[in-house]
């Protein structure tokens, strides 16, 4: 019999809530109070998340964010700034000691990204892992991920681009050299793709989520069972949202 993991689908949450849910599930899993969990989610309104080590003011034009109604939040994972708009975001929370997760960090990136690659295959898209943390289709990035490990628990979250608006993304992101911004945008347009660009179709979040569910099940040989956050996870989410992710101290710490 296949091992059962929990599947959460939580659409349309704020940036603060999304990051708080990932952390709440991670904390509960670390206490053996939550099973291995895969979550598929979206962001409403669109948001920019920055990596744990990035400087918010250096990376993000906060005035533009305000004008466009785009939220921002610092993640607990490293990596770069991501504009979350038309995408499926996934997260997986699992014990570091789980036999299906490699102890080596880079190996575990590869393994978890394997689920996304398999999921994309179910959308008729052939992709491959590009170390450190990307998945590419014809040398163009379609997915990026970031991982942290705390209290013997692994959290990896990442994006699967359903559609992408590079021009809008660069209105929000600051670049080190304004003089080469146009070239940079042109470069990024050449290096980033999405499900829509490849298939030519408008694929819904639910269709992508269904494909990714199968991807995770096949990669890990498990069964994902629809579930909900526990009462404790909901309480912790509210706590982390209020005391961490929505605070000036957290978001401006670098």
């Amino acid at each position: 019999m296949k091992e059962k993991w929990r599947l959460l689908k939580t659409e349309d949450n704020s940036a603060f809530t999304n990051m708080a849910i990932d952390r709440a599930v991670m904390v509960e899993n670390g206490k053996d109070k939550a099973p291995p969990t895969v979550r598929f989610y979206t962001w409403k309104p669109p948001a920019i998340s920055i990596g744990y080590f990035q400087s918010l003011k250096e990376e993000v034009d906060l005035e533009v964010c305000k004008n466009l109604g785009v939220e921002y939040v610092r993640r607990i994972t490293g990596g770069g700034a991501v504009f979350h708009d038309k995408e499926l975001t996934y997260s997986i929370v699992i014990s570091e000691s789980h036999p299906l997760v490699p102890k080596n960090i880079l190996e575990s990136y590869r393994r978890i990204c394997g689920s996304i690659i398999r999921g994309l295959k179910h959308l008729w898209i052939e992709s491959k892992y590009a170390p450190i943390n990307d998945i590419i289709v014809n040398n163009k990035k379609i997915s990026g991920s970031a991982q942290t490990r705390k209290s013997k628990t692994v959290l990896q979250h990442g994006t699967v681009l359903i559609d992408v608006d590079v021009d809008k993304m660069f209105k929000i992101l600051k670049v080190p050299n304004e003089k080469i911004k146009d070239k940079l945008i042109a470069d990024v347009k050449q290096r980033v793709t999405s499900i829509k660009h490849i298939s030519g179709n408008n694929t819904s979040f639910n269709d992508v989520a269904d494909a990714m569910k199968i991807g995770f099940e096949e990669e890990f040989g498990i069964e994902l069972v629809n579930g909900d956050l526990t009462r404790k996870e909901i309480d912790l989410t509210k706590k982390f949202e209020k005391e961490c992710f929505s605070t000036y101290e957290w978001n401006y710490r670098r």
Partner: protein, 94 residues
């Protein structure tokens, strides 16, 4: 004196350093290490910044200090390394 550098680590990530240094004795007053790299545990960058205070801006010294902190706190970098950190710091001075 406060200086900045942006340095793409070869085969790694983009490192951005803000350095506040004592120009008289060429030592670090304060350093902020930012970028899109990964470090495990994440708190290790705060520790690194703290431990680099008062370190002389001599390549060998810096390299040794950074490696000793990596070893002592069992830090794992991805997309960043000791050589890259030293280079990023020295690019602030150029």
């Amino acid at each position: 004196m406060q200086l900045k550098s942006v340095y793409k680590i070869p085969n790694g990530k983009l490192l951005k350093i803000i350095l506040d240094y004592n120009s008289k004795n060429k030592s670090i007053n304060n350093i902020s290490i930012t970028g899109d790299f990964f470090a495990y545990p994440e708190e290790s960058i705060d520790i690194m910044e703290e431990k680099l205070k008062d370190t002389l801006l001599i390549k060998e010294n810096l390299f040794e200090k950074i490696n000793s902190v990596i070893k002592k706190y069992n830090i794992e970098f991805i997309g960043l390394d000791a050589e890259g950190l030293v280079e990023g710091i020295f690019r602030c001075l150029k």
